[in-house]
């Protein structure tokens, strides 16, 4: 592995009220070290932007945090609980969920049905309850339908509730994914390129929604995004990832003016 000519600052671990803390996370795929040593933390109610050149390890880091990959070393702490090595579903139930970079459409489901997959501990998820406690199933389903309707209205998707989700445009589907994730009622939301392939007008909408969720629900958000303008507008702080490590963390202004960031993006870096 090459060592950059510039120094790595690492993330700021001294924040108050940390909802998510990542310490010395490492992941290797054979000879390839995708995540070398990542430490960072998120304060409750913050929007953290995660940027970095291609191959910096952003998506790998998301998979490590959300449980889709098991780290080789290091730890992830959510709300004071060590969740290292937990399965993604267990992590989601504990309060952290994610969206995906490429749209994951569920065939044969309407928008509304998509929304109804989100809620946790639904009585009707047990076969026995559907047989012997139909009343509880009905109660839960009613409550969830109502919550789904409210969220769809918030995201201005209510007119599409009965449409097959496969008929939505790319941008509308990104909105649906965000709304569906909110059905989980998470404390922490990981968004993997929420505006990739979305037209500028809808991207602006998405930014508004994300800000609103963050403000009104004290939702802590992590965003990977290649659209630098979008993320600089939305997130503070910004964490810069490079070659599997945290290059620096700071406000959009400090990151923008940091020479090392430019260098990392231009592929300068060090001699191997």
């Amino acid at each position: 592995m090459s060592t950059a000519s510039y120094g790595y600052d690492g993330g700021d671990l001294e924040k108050p009220d940390q909802v998510l803390t990542v310490e010395n996370l490492r992941k290797e795929f054979g000879a390839l070290i995708a995540t070398e040593d990542v430490s960072l933390a998120a304060e409750r109610g913050s929007i953290t932007g995660l940027i970095g050149p291609n191959g910096a390890g952003k998506s790998t880091l998301f998979k490590l945090i959300s449980g889709f990959y098991e780290p080789d070393a290091g730890s992830v702490t959510l709300n004071g609980t060590d969740i290292t090595g937990w399965s993604p579903d267990r992590i989601a139930r504990r309060g952290m969920t994610r969206t995906f970079q490429t749209p994951r459409r569920i065939e044969g489901m309407t928008v509304r049905e998509n929304m109804l997959v989100g809620p946790q501990n639904q009585a009707g998820e047990s076969i026995l309850s559907t047989m012997f406690r139909p009343g509880r199933v009905t109660r839960d389903e009613r409550a969830n339908l109502e919550r789904a309707a409210d969220l769809l209205e918030l995201f201005e998707l209510d007119h599409l509730a009965d449409e097959p989700a496969t008929d939505l445009s790319g941008g509308q589907f990104k909105l649906l994914e965000l709304a569906r994730a909110m059905m989980v009622e998470p404390d922490v939301l990981l968004l993997d390129e929420p505006v990739a392939g979305v037209n500028p007008a809808l991207a602006e909408d998405l930014a508004t929604y994300i800000e609103r969720l963050n403000r009104e629900r004290e939702l802590t958000i992590f965003i990977i995004e290649h659209d630098i303008d979008f993320i600089m507008e939305l997130a503070d702080p910004i964490v810069v990832l490079d070659q599997g490590r945290v290059l620096t963390e700071g406000s959009p202004e400090t990151v923008r003016t940091d020479d090392r960031v430019m260098e990392a993006y231009l592929g300068g870096g060090g001699e191997s």
Binding site: S87, D89, R104, I106, E125, V137, T138, A161, D162
Partner: protein
Amino acid sequence: MSLASTGSELADRITREELLIGGATALFLAAVAGAVAGGLLESAFVVSSLAFAPVILLLALGLNVQWGYGGLVNFSVAGFFAVGAYSTAVLTNGSDPHGLALHPAVGLVAAMAVSAALALAIGLPTLRLRADYFAIATLGFAEIVRLIVLNEGWLTNGGLGVFGIPVLFEAGVLSGPAELLNTTPRNVGNVLIGFLAVAVVFLVLRRVQSSPWGRVLRTIRADEDVGQALGKNTYRFKLQAFVLGSVIMGVAGFYFAHYLRAITPGAFEPIQTFYVWVAVILGGSGSNRGAILGGFAVVLILRGTRLVNNPVGAIETLLNAPIDVLDRLLFSVAVDFRLSLGLDLNQDALRLLLIGLLVIAIVRLRPQGLLPPQREHIWPAALGGGGDAPEEDRE
């Protein structure tokens, strides 16, 4: 407009597919009834075909839970079918080789319990793996079941099979209808019991499918990662679907054993698995009604081919009909040739040929099946309806 009301309107609407399929089914039934009335078809044959049909219908409903709901590739349909059949056969037969002669109710419980236990035993270690490994494991399981049945003679009587399995329902009240239909009371009883089982399973599955449980499985089928990201323990759901489907297949085996009263290993060849797959895919994966429809289509091919004694001859007669007419018109002067296909085709081969053609036709013309799920699956009671529409009151 509230979400709930648009949903129930959708549910009330009959789709074009439903109309077409319903019409075609009605026409077909009318044709069968006409053929029976006109003496072209024996009513006894129709009844005995109906007594066989629940076997395929139950197997198709079971596979639909696994493949249609959850996307699980189970190549062991014949395996669980055999497990169900032998579980009840061994316990209830009155002669060879055990003579335990227990009540069929015991056989039913055993068929379901053994199927469930074996499904757990295969599913627990393999459902965590990638989907293709699971498929291979089920293929192996079917072969293991077949070999055990063939070789463990003390339990299964080996290749000789188990005889003296009791009839499920044969009462005096059945003799009237049986006489009317020119068949045996046993056949009539089997039709009743068989379709009762199909109805019960269908109703249970319809309920389960429109529940949040069914929704999670459809999510898993489309993209397991999404299910996990939304907090669903996908492994547990897959395991439940696999066990539920296998238990239904076990019930099919139970019914089959009592329907035939004697079973041999030959009845559980791997080809049975693929007949059931064809039924589910033809009907429309994920649809319970589709599984029933596809199941009937397969039964039609399996049983209908029995009516054709000389398939090649029949096709040749059909092809030569215009030549015959021409011949007669010309007073047998000019035409003295007939088409010959030069084929030797028995009923078994015809059956396979038809199934093969059917598979090609589905894949080319209608890959989603004849009657795929027609509307969204949301717990019906929660959508209000029936007068008390609480959703609308609140809005």
